[in-house]
Symmetry: C2
Subunit: 327 residues, 2 copies
């Protein structure tokens, strides 16, 4: 037996298909007894309206798009899970778009729009002007998740990356450390740049010289780079924009016989599951990335409901998880 159509339900219930549709979309407009009969038959037959037809007719698909550069990063997975759980709450389903930073952004964005979603959660904050222009003309609301838009037409949800990096750097300075290294990412993510800005600010305020390197996401490349770095340098504290990179650095240092945290303290950003599985366990700033995804989806539903709601930049509270890699 094929999937039941709205006609089948209408026929079985002895009402018109308009009424079945109303039961689903505006139940308060239908008399209680009819409504209950229709609902019973819907349940019996396991009827679900066809998403395409519904989307076409109503111009609302109750679907949102998630656009991410990869799905491999633990932080991104957690964000997606946060979005998914929140979407479930609000009755939205998900279309997933993964576009590598080196793919055609414009093309991807066109696909996202053509997929007729009601809203877009965007996580990637490096884009060319052409893409930006397309985003400007997107007919549905867009929210930047754990990312920042260069202009303020869009809402965003993230932690206060700059303030946070500033504070943790200052804390380590106050504890008597001077030689503090910041490891950024080769890729120019706006949020990682903000971390570096906060770090620099704290260093300069204290009259210390900022010292930064940039690393790729590739573990074996990192190991070579970090070993070379440690051949000539011995930082007291290492602050890394990503905790997987921090762990990789820590492992390299440990293997050289450097004692963590006694001779070198290491701090990461994000607190993904890696942090807890590291040895020693990594101290890090917890970016509540699940909550960020969760909140972004909630904010998006507001924007999708009301055209006149102002998009806003939401900061989520973070905290520092002190573990074994600091003293």
């Amino acid at each position: 037996m094929n999937q039941p159509k709205i006609y089948d339900i209408a026929g079985a219930a002895g009402v018109s298909l308009a009424t079945v549709s109303r039961v689903l979309n505006h139940p308060e407009k239908v008399k209680k007894s009819t409504r209950e009969k229709v609902l019973r038959i819907i349940k019996e037959k396991g009827y679900k309206p066809n998403a395409n037809a519904r989307g076409l007719a109503s111009r609302r698909s109750t679907t949102v798009a998630i656009v991410v550069p990869t799905v491999l990063r633990a932080s991104i997975s957690e964000m997606i899970q946060g979005i998914v759980d929140s979407a479930k709450n609000f009755g939205y389903s998900i279309r997933l778009f993964v576009n590598d930073e080196d793919e055609d952004q414009v093309e991807t964005w066109r696909e996202v729009i053509a997929s007729s979603v009601d809203g877009i959660l965007f996580m990637s904050d490096e884009m060319d002007d052409e893409t930006y222009e397309l985003i400007e003309n997107t007919p549905v609301p867009v929210i930047f998740v754990n990312a920042i838009s260069k202009n303020s037409n869009y809402g965003s949800v993230s932690i206060d990356n700059e303030g946070c990096a500033y504070r943790i750097t200052k804390e380590m300075i106050d504890r008597g450390n001077k030689n503090i290294l910041f490891i950024g990412t080769e890729h120019n993510y706006a949020i990682n740049n903000l971390k570096e800005i906060g770090y620099r600010k704290a260093m300069e305020e204290a009259g210390l010289i900022p010292n930064t390197i940039k690393s790729s996401g590739d573990i074996s490349k990192n190991e070579v780079q970090f070993n070379e770095y440690l051949d000539n340098n011995r930082p007291e504290v290492v602050l890394s924009a990503r905790d997987s990179i921090a762990i990789s650095f820590m492992n390299v240092a440990t293997k050289r016989g450097i004692k963590v945290p006694d001779e070198m303290q290491v701090i990461g950003f994000q607190n993904t599951r890696y942090a807890e599985l590291s040895n020693p366990k990594l101290t890090c700033v917890e970016t509540p990335i699940y909550e960020i995804g969760n909140k972004a989806m909630a904010n998006l539903t507001q924007l999708m409901k009301n055209e006149d709601v102002e998009p806003e930049n939401t900061f989520i509270d973070y905290q520092v998880i002190w573990r074994e890699s600091t003293k």
Copy 2:
């Protein structure tokens, strides 16, 4: 300016909308000169056909559904990435469904069907009979990814989990170990059960007593459990169904002063990124989960194209990555 419709393209090109549609769907049926003119205008206007309308009219959405129990597990992320990359190749887009094992499976499955996807990649192999019946009646092809279906109506893609666990256990026995522990998962995943079966077979063949415990995915719970276990036991080799669990066990052992690999060897399954970030680095069976996702999507396109292609069970080659946690 709003998104252009097919009418706009037809108007600008001086052809009927049927022709525009043909250019997109059956280009060989259109005269070259018309085709090129239409394509030029499509490009100029950045036209993309509305996915809902297209899906409704053609009954093909060029969208597939991925159904997973969570997105938080590294192995699942890698699988999704494999699917996504392959889908991009074949021109399919993705709908993501996450259903916790404790949610209503039937409800989720109905949603998946109603979303009118052309095929389904399913990763979760514990389900009740009602769900199974629904799956039977699914109007589109289904493939089990890194999972096994209880009956053979469906294709699947995975490694030979049983054979693999058998072989690695046998290898460790041949190296002179007798006290080998297998750590499974509390949740009854068919593929983890297969690993245990392979392990038991190798142990029994060698006249050794199998010894298994089951662990949850929760790190802090595991640590308590593993400590208790180590209070009374001292396995020579630990084989774990999941590498994150193996690392957690290894960390607990190390902290108790047990030397890995000299006094205890630890082997994981999967080889997610955790394995490379562990200290010592974990030896494990590499489940090429990215390839599994990739291949599953490729197989699915075959099934979606041809009704009469037989679904099959595909085994993907695996290998053992010997690292520092074994000697």
